[in-house]
Amino acid sequence: MSAPETAIRKTLADANLQLAIYNNTGRFKENRRRAVAPDQLPEYEDLRTRAAAIKRHTLSFLDVYLLQLESAVEDSGGKVIWASTGEEAADFIVKLAKEREANLIVKSKSMTSEEIHLNDRLAHHELEAVETDLGEYILQLAGQRPFHIVAPAIHMTRNDVADIFTEKLGIEHDTVIENQAMTARRVLREKFLSAGIGITGANFLLADSGAVVIVENEGNARLTHSAPKVHVAIAGIEKVIPRARDLAVFLDLLGRSASGQALTSYTSIVTGPRRQGELDGPEEFYLVLLDAGRTKLLADPEQRESLQCIRCGACLNACPVYRKIGGHNYPWVYSGPIGKVITPSFQGKEKDTWLPFASSLCGACAEVCPVKIDIPGLLLKLRKELVTANPADRSAFQVWAWLMRRPGMYALAARIGRSLMGFNIGPLAAWRSERDLPAAPRKSFRELWKERKK
């Protein structure tokens, strides 16, 4: 399957969008750089090494940690729902909502829930699920999917937001951003206080405490897990870390890598329903543990490390390709470099076969990854697998390899190649579609060398 060339061309031609993507990711990138610089975080490299080690360890013994997590959740009065597929997760939530007569559901940001098309499924059963993260709320009104893993509406301007609010909320057109945020506060406050169920994601799951850790800036996640009577947290099985104390490493890396913040406004560590005597908080707590393809990735020793991802978005902000094509040109909900490596495993390696090749392998992603995922390495492995399964292209490289082992033939073929550089065919045409090609030199180095040594 080939890349969405028309859509990409449109994105590249949209000057305003290009500026929005480049400048916004640029700001994240710069803020991150400052936040992890030696004067701010001298232990940065040590933390990365430990974070990678803890994640690798947890994945290696995931069976133990999942059972420990389940036990701890149950000890604090919660319940674990194991969902093999996205449908199962959604079905559970639908069933729960119907049983509790919760027609209104509030949601805080969860990429996992995007994966399983939760909102669509709920809507199908006439259950209203309202996104409460400002960016997600705007997108929900606009009917769009997230543009970025951490900052979902990074591509929108205040004018876009004003248009959407006027059309969908019927309010007067207002491009003042502060007013737009306050409109969302006003509308959503009502929803928080009347919703029957609050659904959150989880940044981390603490196996020893049975707790869900949620990192945010707005406070919508806190309201989602504290105001309604029922709290459902949905998370992939790879979100587990062994102990609360491991947060010392992960919290230091997450906020800084994502947005340059040492700590975000709110980090919630919640478990189970309210305790005896507590005056607020949910009365019921469910942790939906989602497989939906993660065990398949776990079983792939070459690709397993992509499960270490803590969804900070740093790789998106660093990626020169993402910063040009933006999140909507990736085929799945996860975009950017991490999206490139996990999409084939989740969606099928035979689909979107262009994806692992849409990279210059510059390594900027690996450089910023707080858990040291070798994304370029993973892309190379995917490319290797793709050519094994599809030997069409191979013949060209077989000829190439044959030539490259025979210096005389190589030199001859190269001389012929140089003489053809003026033609506009195949790769030469593709090159020239975007930039000029230099004229071929009359003599190659080896020819000049021979002359020099005379």
Binding site: Y22, A401, R435, P441, S444, F445
Partner: protein, 268 residues
């Protein structure tokens, strides 16, 4: 003087992989050069300039004619079998060479960081690779490993900006090295561009398979270059220079591209 070696943590296998630059107390007498296929065929002047610099330092330069390519194009496209065959040819060609100097960051890192992957299942070949790779140096790495290097006798009275090619920067850890060398060039003014570390968009076959994106990436670099007011943009990778030159030319800009070796060989 000490060798420059900035170690970049690259996450392959979760280790810090650094190319150890050998601290020589004694000047090597003779170096073999691996010019790379792109320099050989498209940018021979960069290769010649490198030879000039090496010979001016009193080194004897050996060019083994059997050399062709480091196999990176095949490797990056996923054709491991073909890459292995060509890599074997490289190893055979440079058998016994004490020092191999390469005017390219990406070709050097292909050899020093990826040949081991290619031959992971062939212990005999792997042993040969392991014996060879510590002797392979990118050009600026090599120069800075030489004792008592403080002048190259170079002069280049222009305002230039430097493009950090990706493999050199992130796999070989070469950020300061080229800049230190440029600092030795008389009358040269170096102005850093904002986007110095951003990929130029070449990426091998990426440049033609995803030409639109590649072109857009190049134009971002061009904007950054133009903002410096430099008359030349310099890099240690010819593939990047070809990409930047093509974009500069297409945009009608007068900025020229030069390989680091050409600047260091310049007598003004």
């Amino acid at each position: 003087m000490t060798a420059s070696h900035a170690f970049i943590v690259i996450p392959s296998r979760g280790e810090t992989l650094a190319h150890p630059v050998i601290q020589s107390r004694v000047m090597p007498r003779r170096v073999a050069i691996f010019v790379t296929c792109i320099v050989d065929q498209l940018f021979p002047n960069a290769g010649m300039a490198m030879v000039d610099v090496l010979e001016r330092l009193g080194l004897e330069v050996e060019f083994r004619e059997a050399q062709t390519c480091c196999a990176q194009p095949a490797f990056n496209s996923g054709y491991q079998r073909e890459a292995r065959a060509v890599a074997r040819h490289f190893v055979d060609t440079f058998d016994g060479a004490e020092t191999i100097v390469v005017p390219s960051g990406s070709c050097t890192s292909m050899i020093t960081h990826h040949y081991a992957d290619l031959f992971a299942h062939d212990p005999v070949a792997l042993a040969r690779v392991d014996a060879l790779t510590p002797r392979v140096f990118e050009f600026s790495q090599f120069l800075l490993s030489l004792p008592n290097l403080d002048s190259l006798g170079a002069r280049f009275p222009h305002k230039i900006t430097y493009h950090d090619s990706c493999h050199a920067l992130r796999e070989l850890g070469l950020k300061d090295a080229p800049r230190r060398l440029l600092g030795m060039v008389k009358d040269l003014e170096l102005v850093e561009m904002e986007a110095a570390e951003e990929c130029c968009g070449f990426g091998g076959t990426f440049s033609v398979k995803f030409a639109q994106i590649s072109g857009a990436m190049a134009r971002t670099k061009v904007d950054s270059i133009l903002q410096t007011g430099a008359s030349h943009v310099v890099s240690l990778d010819s593939s990047c220079l070809m990409q930047l030159r093509g974009a500069l030319s297409r945009g009608g800009h007068k900025v020229e591209t030069l390989h680091l070796a050409e600047v260091l060989a310049s007598r003004g």
